[in-house]
């Protein structure tokens, strides 16, 4: 009889634990972001034509030139990319080298975007069929990767860079430079 009672309480505890789990998971905000699984791995080999006349194109070799840098995945049609432009500008003024891949974009659109929101990029590759974006494990725009001097991806930032993200990225770049 006592044994039965214990068993029943165990069942009650199990059910309570299950509902606690439901409550916990339901109260968490949903995270829609698909993160790249390439963190800690080398940037896949690629070579992209310039996206605009003003800057050279981008290849994976440029990302392994010994200096850590930011790789920004953006597009002129992407509104949050315009939102993060001031923060990218601030990073560039602090001496961060930023290279970019423009997704599904035309040169004139890229030019217009850069004229309107500033051009913090030293190189911009054109990716008209999201080839490099897919190779990087990037699932949308904007995204920003921290790549170290050997071309290894150290960090991925999803979504636009906000003011509060700037110190985080600087810290990740510092770590990547060590």
């Amino acid at each position: 009889m006592i044994r039965l009672r214990v068993v029943l309480w165990v069942l009650v505890a199990l059910a309570a634990a299950l509902f606690a789990l439901f409550a916990l998971q339901l109260s968490r905000p949903k995270d829609d972001f698909v993160r790249s699984a390439l963190i800690g791995k080398k940037v896949p080999a690629f070579a992209l034509e310039p996206a605009t006349d003003g800057r050279p194109g981008l290849s994976s070799a440029d990302l392994a030139d010994g200096r850590p840098k930011l790789l920004n995945v953006f597009a002129s049609w992407c509104v949050p990319c315009a939102v993060e432009a001031p923060q990218l500008g601030a990073l560039e003024r602090q001496g961060v080298e930023i290279v970019a891949v423009a997704i599904r974009d035309r040169p004139e659109s890229v030019d217009g975007f850069l004229a309107a929101y500033g051009n913090p990029f030293s190189r911009i590759g054109a990716d008209p069929i999201s080839e490099v974006q897919l190779a990087l494990g990037s699932s949308g725009v904007p995204e920003t990767f921290v790549v170290d001097g050997r071309g290894i991806i150290r960090h991925q930032h999803l979504g636009e860079i906000r003011d509060s993200d700037v110190p985080i990225l600087l810290e990740k770049l510092r770590e990547a430079g060590e």
Binding site: F33, C78, P80, S130, G137
Partner: protein
């Protein structure tokens, strides 16, 4: 119209609150980017979207017990949430009148013949599902009605660049089939098992998002170049994790999903055997 591209925004804290009210719309890429555009539109709009959805939720709760409710017909209307399960002689005054809208809504009225035998042991037993359904339906309707114009306004406020998006043609093999029928069949089967990253409940075969087209192009060109479907899948999983593939994989984290049902079956058989023995 161009299908919306894969622009994304980190959900502002308030964005999470908007979402539950728009479950169906949220999956549509256009709707999502309308939400995305909101970041450019000023916080005033954010709070405007939030406010009604929050009030809708509370309203839907209070509406279930309307103040001036007519006395319910116990034969037709469901008793209150906490009414006794056994058929009780109804005393309309004592119970809060719940489901007035249940019968006033023709869709729900039509659903009742089905709902009743399923959920209610007798005609006077509490039909909680019906009660809830009425509240939910009402909440959904009001939410959709109040949120849609606001989202549209937010989209308009963000201006022309949003509509000039993504005018590049789709990747060559986004919509074109491979010449080799056998390869196309393989590619097709694989595309149905790969998740669209911008519209996450669809496969890339189902989605018209530009990025899904670019993924189809990758799948087709890689298969045309002689890779096997499993190699292509592995290439994507290497980049996006298991989440990109709909086919379940046994791994260090997923094995309990496969093991637990087997374990439960064994336990059930053991218990059954003991019981049958005991019965003898």
């Amino acid at each position: 119209m161009n299908p919306a591209p894969s622009a994304r925004v980190r959900p502002a804290p308030s964005a999470n609150r908007v979402r539950p009210a728009l479950p169906a719309m949220e999956r549509r890429p256009e709707a999502r980017s309308a939400v995305a555009r909101r970041t450019i539109a000023q916080p005033a709009i954010t709070s405007a979207i939030d406010a009604p959805s929050a009030s809708v939720r509370t309203a839907s709760l209070s509406e279930t017990t309307p103040a001036g409710a007519a006395a319910p017909d116990p034969q037709l209307l469901a008793p209150a949430l906490f009414a006794p399960v056994r058929p009780a002689p109804a005393s309309p005054g004592a119970l809060p009148a719940p489901a007035e809208e249940a019968t006033s809504d023709p869709r729900l009225a039509a659903a009742q013949p089905f709902a009743a035998p399923l959920f209610a042991p007798s005609r006077t037993a509490p039909s909680l599902p019906r009660h809830l359904a009425a509240a939910l339906l009402r909440a959904a309707r009001t939410a959709a009605a109040s949120a849609t114009p606001l989202l549209a306004a937010a989209a308009l406020a963000s201006g022309a660049p949003a509509f000039a998006q993504d005018m590049l043609p789709p990747a060559p093999f986004a919509y074109r089939q491979l010449p080799d029928a056998e390869q196309e069949k393989q590619a097709r089967a694989l595309m149905e098992q790969l998740r669209c990253l911008t519209c996450q409940s669809q496969s890339i075969a189902d989605s018209d998002a530009p990025m899904a087209g670019d993924m189809r192009h990758q799948v087709r060109t890689r298969i045309a170049a002689g890779e096997s479907p499993d190699q292509v899948r592995a290439w994507l999983v290497e980049r996006y994790g298991d989440y990109v593939s709909y086919r379940p994989q046994m791994s260090a984290t997923t094995w309990p999903l496969f093991a637990v049902p087997l374990l439960l079956l064994v336990v059930a058989l053991l218990i059954l055997r003991r019981r049958l023995r005991g019965a003898r």
